[in-house]
């Protein structure tokens, strides 16, 4: 046994205040293989890896590495032992050069006190050459594309001569060519008997490179199998624990007249001449790849981003929106993509977080009783789970935080609700509840716009889907024509099938 596996994790539990992030998770990794971790967002994959490398202490459980039980107390410990990780969210030192970043904390030294600046660059160049990557080692990190930054990060992890390399969604920002580079590097590592733990949501990728696959669901262990024994459907069923069709409870509802209309909207390079309309009771999906300009389009509508040209109409009236305040006053709400960055106020209570966009309505001195009443009413309606309404929002799970934010926007009684990646990073249960809620809102006669990068999601809940590619609209698809292939074709900038082209033209 000890020979077969380089890493074994048994009964790993990790508790955060109010949340069981991991509950009795198992993982066994063979050397020289790619072991993929799968599960919905929030299933605990990243948390398990953070526990492994000592970024977070495990609450319970046993980690056996190279036949010995280990407890890494810090990331330095685990790197030293030969485990490196490419983080999902990069944290490069933007103002320093590629080489500086590559050797950060382990710079080649001339003597005890002085860095060998020449070797720094020479070694970096050697490394990239060896990996066959085209990166300028003298460039400042901030001047690189996210994809190139990712490649630097990958090179850094590889350069440690590790026995295990963990890759947490390494391809999320990469182009196809760069993905090929990455797979080449992975194959090279495998041939050197390095084990790779690979986290990804992209099925094609997973089946292409994986040897073993382990599936998690809501922080629990579902199972491990050879990739050869699995297929698409089996895997999804393991991940979700039920047939995927239940995921998107769409309530059919009558669709009325055009309520919200955007004409020729442009903003910088990210939004080029976008036009669409949403009807009363309709859910309009926005699909596309990362960086397609969907978020930027919505930010422009919501007044977060400067509008270069274009018009926005609500119920036939042209709106002049210069700031989110203007948008809110015109009954437009927007749940933003970056929950931590511009959504929640971590230090403030659920009550404050729920009522913040509505503070105008509570007079002076502020009517705290009414605030609490509204908080309770709206959060109960959407089943937010919290110990008290005074709890700081940062102590809630991602799903519950998202619900509080939804409550915030519902409280403003918007006519148009824009939600950007509404279910990112939240557990499956909360996810389908949010889908149900959006469906219900449309049923109440609101216009709902949903941006989602998860194709099944956007196809599951939308009545129509707008697809964007590099800032431009490439197509509008009616529900009856929904298919992953068509979406993908538009999303990658491909031209439409002839018959559908007419539909698109008719729409715009």
């Amino acid at each position: 046994m000890a020979d077969e596996y380089i890493l074994e994790m048994h009964g790993i539990c990790k508790y955060f205040p109010g949340v069981k992030a991991l509950d009795g998770v198992e993982l066994q990794v063979r050397p020289g293989t790619v072991h993929t971790l799968m599960g919905e967002n929030g299933a605990g994959k990243s948390t398990l890896m953070k526990c492994l490398i000592g970024m977070q202490p495990v609450t319970e459980g046993q980690i056996i590495y190279k036949g010995q039980e280990v407890h890494f107390k810090s990331v330095q410990d685990s790197i030293h032992a030969g485990i490196t990780m490419i983080q999902q969210e990069l944290s490069p030192v933007l103002e320093r050069t590629v080489a500086d970043n590559l050797w950060l904390g382990r710079e080649p030294m001339k003597n005890k006190f002085m860095c060998d600046n020449k070797a720094l660059y020479v070694e970096a160049e050697k490394l990239f050459k060896k990996l066959n990557l085209d990166v300028d080692v003298y460039a400042k990190m901030k001047d690189l594309t996210v994809a190139k930054q990712q490649m630097v990060e990958i090179a850094k992890a590889v350069s440690h001569d590790a026995s295990i390399v963990i890759m947490d969604e390494p391809t999320s920002a990469l182009t196809d060519a760069e993905v090929e580079d990455l797979f080449r590097i992975i194959a090279d590592l495998k041939s050197k008997n390095v084990a790779i733990i690979y986290i990804s949501h992209k099925m094609d990728e997973i089946f292409r490179i994986s040897d073993d696959i382990t599936v998690f669901r809501d922080g629990t262990y579902v199972g491990t199998d050879r990739a050869a024994n699995l297929n698409h459907d089996k895997l999804i069923e393991m991940m979700v624990g039920r047939k995927i069709t239940n995921m998107f409870p769409k309530i059919p509802c009558p669709i009325g007249d055009v309520m919200f209309k955007v004409e020729n909207l442009s903003s910088g390079k990210q939004v080029k001449n976008v036009s669409f309309e949403v009807r009363k009771g309709e859910i309009l999906g926005f699909a596309g790849l990362v960086g397609a300009g969907r978020t930027e389009t919505m930010e422009t509508i919501f007044g977060m981003r400067k509008k270069d040209s274009g018009k926005v109409y609500l119920n036939g009236k042209e709106l002049d929106i210069k700031s989110p305040r203007d948008a809110i006053d015109n009954r437009i709400g927007m749940l933003t993509e970056d929950r931590r960055g511009n959504g929640i106020f971590g230090l403030l209570s659920i009550t404050d977080n729920t009522t913040v966009a509505n503070w105008k309505a509570y007079g002076m001195p502020m009517n705290h009783k009414q605030m609490l009443k509204d908080t309770e009413e709206f959060n109960t309606k959407i089943r937010t789970k919290t110990p008290t309404w005074e709890t700081r929002i940062m102590n809630l799970s991602g799903g519950n935080q998202q619900k509080v934010l939804l409550a915030r926007w519902l409280l403003t009684a918007p006519d148009v609700l824009i939600v950007d990646e509404p279910t990112r990073g939240i557990d499956v249960g909360a996810k389908s509840e949010i889908h149900e809620l959006l469906s219900k809102l449309a049923g109440e006669g609101k216009a709902v716009i949903v941006i989602s990068s998860e194709m099944p999601e956007v196809m599951g809940i939308s009545d129509r889907i707008v697809v964007m590619h590099e800032g431009e609209m490439t197509g509008i698809i009616e529900r009856k024509d929904f298919s992953q292939e068509l979406l993908m074709r538009y999303a990658t900038g491909g031209s439409a099938i002839e018959g559908l082209k007419q539909t698109v033209n008719a729409e715009s």
Binding site: P324, G343, M364
Partner: protein
């Protein structure tokens, strides 16, 4: 289960109000060394002595809460003191501005406040619209205001009218006006923070300015109002200071007061990372700094030792807060 909940309630109460415990312990310790510390006379001396810094603290607290800082408060106090004092000099005094008659006290006071408004607006505008780091913006205004003071008058402006001095030096019965002003300012601050949309917006902007913008808060306007509030408090402090000492000195009035104010707000649990502030904690912070200043003298400890104790208390308080907030995060 229940006792566990009680226990965590108790420890929560302790960690939230630990600052008051520190204050009580300090008072007891000093009283043990010198019985005269805990007397009404000394309490009055302590409070009147700390009032000006207290007023400045309620101002800078707001700036820190918004994730900023204000280093100009001491200089703003000096400038406000000099201008308002110059307007309210007695007829017999050597006038700073010869030919200018003696103005009613209210004119002097309003002139001082106006100065606060102007400097505060400038600070806020630089922070909100030029995106200067508040440390730099207010460091600039600190130097400029102090320099203007010295340009206006080479020496102290003194012999002020009793009417003008009333706020800083007067009494109503046993109650000293200067202490009353501080208490009123405490109440106003508490009201703003707890009961107004502006107060809540300051918490929101300090906690996450991006999220505040998305939630429809006018972040720029909030920041400008924060720095105006801060400078108006400072200006009021200057008026009190001039009234109390019957003079406004361009070189020394309010010198380094901004640091004492920042220290008191910080010891009171206002976090430099923004978004965290309890008004009761800040009140305790002001009293703690006062108790140390006054108590060390009563104990016959020399000046340098007092600074060392102050330094340690500031470091200790912040270290404690960091730990507390880390556990919660």
């Amino acid at each position: 289960m229940k006792s566990k909940a009680d226990k965590s309630q108790f420890s929560k109460f302790l960690s939230d109000n630990g600052i008051w415990v520190v204050l009580v312990v300090l008072i007891i310790a000093i009283t043990l060394v010198n019985r005269n510390f805990l007397t009404p006379q000394n309490a009055v001396a302590l409070l009147t002595g700390e009032s000006v810094k207290g007023v400045l603290t309620f101002g800078v607290m707001m700036a820190i809460l918004s994730k900023g800082i204000d280093l100009s408060t001491g200089s703003v106090a000096a400038l406000s003191a000099i201008v308002s004092a110059a307007l309210c000099q007695q007829a017999t005094a050597t006038k700073l501005w010869a030919g200018l008659g003696t103005m009613p006290a209210i004119v002097g006071i309003l002139a001082g406040i106006a100065i606060g408004c102007i400097v505060g607006f400038a600070n806020g505008w630089m922070v909100a619209y030029l995106h200067l780091h508040p440390f730099i913006a207010t460091l600039g205004t600190q130097l400029i205001c102090r320099a203007i003071c010295k340009l206006l008058t080479p020496g102290p402006v003194s012999k002020l009218t009793p009417g003008f001095r009333f706020l800083g030096n007067g009494r109503i019965g046993p109650l000293h006006m200067i202490v009353l002003v501080m208490i009123i300012l405490f109440c106003i601050s508490a009201f703003i923070l707890r009961e107004t949309r502006f107060g809540k917006s300051v918490y929101a902007v300090g906690g996450n300015d991006q999220a505040a913008r998305v939630a429809g808060i006018n972040v720029e306007s909030v920041l400008i109002r924060v720095y105006m509030w801060c400078s108006v408090c400072a200006a009021l402090g200057g008026i009190l200071l001039a009234g109390r000492s019957d003079s406004a000195d361009p070189a020394n009035t309010g010198l380094n007061y901004e640091l004492d104010a920042i220290a008191a707000a910080t010891v009171g649990g206002t976090s430099q990372t923004g978004g965290i502030c309890r008004i009761s904690g800040v009140a305790a912070g002001i009293l703690i700094m006062g108790v140390i200043n006054n108590g060390m003298v009563m104990m016959g400890v020399n000046d340098q030792m007092t600074f060392i104790v102050k330094g340690l208390i500031i470091i200790g308080a912040v270290a404690f807060d960091m730990r507390k907030n880390r556990v919660k995060a």
